[in-house]
């Protein structure tokens, strides 16, 4: 019976639900965790955990969770990597097309809005499967400064100070809330990028299913402003730099219970 409402995205179930969209969300709930913390004045940190790594796997690129969209936007992915690549390609092309017309990169909000419109289309038209992908967007623009958004397969998106998607995302969010309250006696506004980085690593080390955090399972990136030029700059951390950070914050081993 339920098959009738499962197989097509275009049809509401009698309870008013779109099963395919919910299943897509479920796919994401099993994907590697990724989290982001916004430091409104200094930048944004993106941290992601890779799900399966075999020593035998030859990876084609350094990153499969975090991607650059343009000089002022990065995203991290939770969900089907193949689906994500389609959307990322699209976002990159859209941004460059925009740059050609207006000689300016689109604001973060426009990038997010455009790709989410596209995602939404797949929940409504032509018996297509929705994209099994959620994103965290870290962006900077001169109009609104640093911004952090998350999106999901339905095409919904929302802005955050800190959030997480993927496996264990709800417990990560709970921890983020705790850590951020504990850390800044004042408002979230004053949190530094270094603090954000530290908290991100700490939170992931607590929620991760892996006993150790190690560089080969992590991807880390930050978006900040260059101090001399005030232009946005993206830093994708190398495995070595991640290891150094883990050692620095004493997180290479999971804390003893």
């Amino acid at each position: 019976m339920s098959r009738r409402y499962d197989s097509r995205t275009t049809i509401f179930s009698p309870e008013g639900r779109l099963y395919q969209v919910e299943y897509a969300l479920e796919a994401i709930a099993h994907a590697g965790t990724t989290l982001a913390i916004l430091s409104p004045k200094e930048g944004i940190v993106l941290l992601a955990e890779r799900k399966i790594i075999s020593k035998l796997l030859e990876s084609s690129s350094n990153s499969e969770k975090i991607y650059k969209i343009n000089d002022q936007t990065i995203v991290s992915v939770a969900g089907l990597t193949a689906d994500a690549e389609i959307l990322i390609d699209r976002m990159r092309n859209d941004c460059q097309q925009y740059l050609k017309i207006y000689n300016k990169l689109p604001n973060t909000m426009q990038v997010v809005n455009k790709v989410c419109d596209f995602k939404q289309g797949y929940t409504q038209f032509g018996g297509l499967r929705p994209f099994g992908v959620s994103f965290l967007f870290a962006g900077y623009d001169s109009l609104n400064g640093f911004q952090l958004y998350s999106s999901n397969p339905s095409g919904n998106y929302s802005g955050w100070l800190a959030t997480s998607i993927g496996e264990n995302s709800s417990s990560v969010q709970t921890l983020l809330k705790q850590e951020l309250n504990a850390n800044s006696t004042e408002s979230h506004n004053d949190i530094t990028l270094d603090d954000a980085l530290k908290i991100a690593l700490k939170v992931l080390s607590k929620t991760s299913d892996n006993t150790h955090l190690s560089a080969d399972k992590l991807e880390l990136a930050s978006l900040s402003l260059q101090s001399n030029t005030n232009k946005p700059t993206i830093k994708l951390y190398t495995p070595k730099e991640i290891d150094n950070l883990l050692n620095l914050h004493d997180l290479s081993k999971k804390e003893e219970e």
């Binding site: 017309i101 207006y102 000689n103 300016k104 604001n107 426009q110 109009l143």
Partner: protein
């Protein structure tokens, strides 16, 4: 033979267009306005094929307004100039290209004057002062000579007056005077000239 002139000041931009509307050898109107306000801080002055001018100007205005509405903030001068150039360059290689030349005048987000000259080919050039067509031949020498980086509004208007006198002397046709607009951080004003 239409006249469009622009002078960029530190914190404002002046734009002047002839009032005569001509077709062939006849002047049909002496109160033509060749400018169109795109938004609060940007205006274009446009000449060329008579049907194309209005159609293209309205098309640009429509898009500028739409983008302003969608994104919740007005388009900036250099974005508009880029967009206009892009549209004309695209149109040039289409079946029926727009034959229009224009100036984009405004103030940018730093409240500095902005002036860009764009022709029907899609050549864009940001300049301190600019003119299209024959008017350029008569006024450029005056503008070269008298223009200063820190020219005041008063001196800008005086310079414009000088240009008008020269044009009246040298142009073979009565262009029925100039419409002058000034764009500054307060917005766009038509001024008595």
């Amino acid at each position: 033979m239409d006249i469009v002139l622009g002078i960029r000041l530190k914190d404002a931009t002046l734009i002047a267009t002839s009032k005569a509307f001509t077709r062939g050898i006849s002047i049909l109107k002496d109160s033509d306005d060749k400018t169109l306000n795109l938004n609060k801080k940007n205006v274009i002055a446009i000449t060329g094929e008579s049907g194309d001018t209005i159609n293209f100007a309205e098309y640009i205005k429509g898009n500028v307004q739409l983008k302003g509405l969608r994104e919740g903030h007005e388009m900036e001068s250099d974005e508009i100039a880029s967009f206009v150039r892009h549209e004309l360059a695209r149109s040039l290689r289409s079946r029926s290209p727009y034959q229009v030349n224009l100036l984009v005048a405004g103030v940018n987000d730093k409240e500095e004057g902005f002036l860009s000259m764009i022709d029907y080919i899609g050549t864009r050039c940001d300049l301190p002062y600019a003119a299209h067509g024959y008017a350029a031949f008569y006024t450029m020498s005056l503008l070269d000579h008298h223009y200063r980086e820190d020219i005041s509004l008063d001196d800008g208007l005086k310079l414009l007056k000088l240009c008008e006198e020269e044009l009246n002397k040298r142009m073979p046709m009565d262009f029925k005077g100039l419409n002058v607009k000034i764009v500054d951080k307060e917005g766009i004003k038509v001024i008595d000239f």
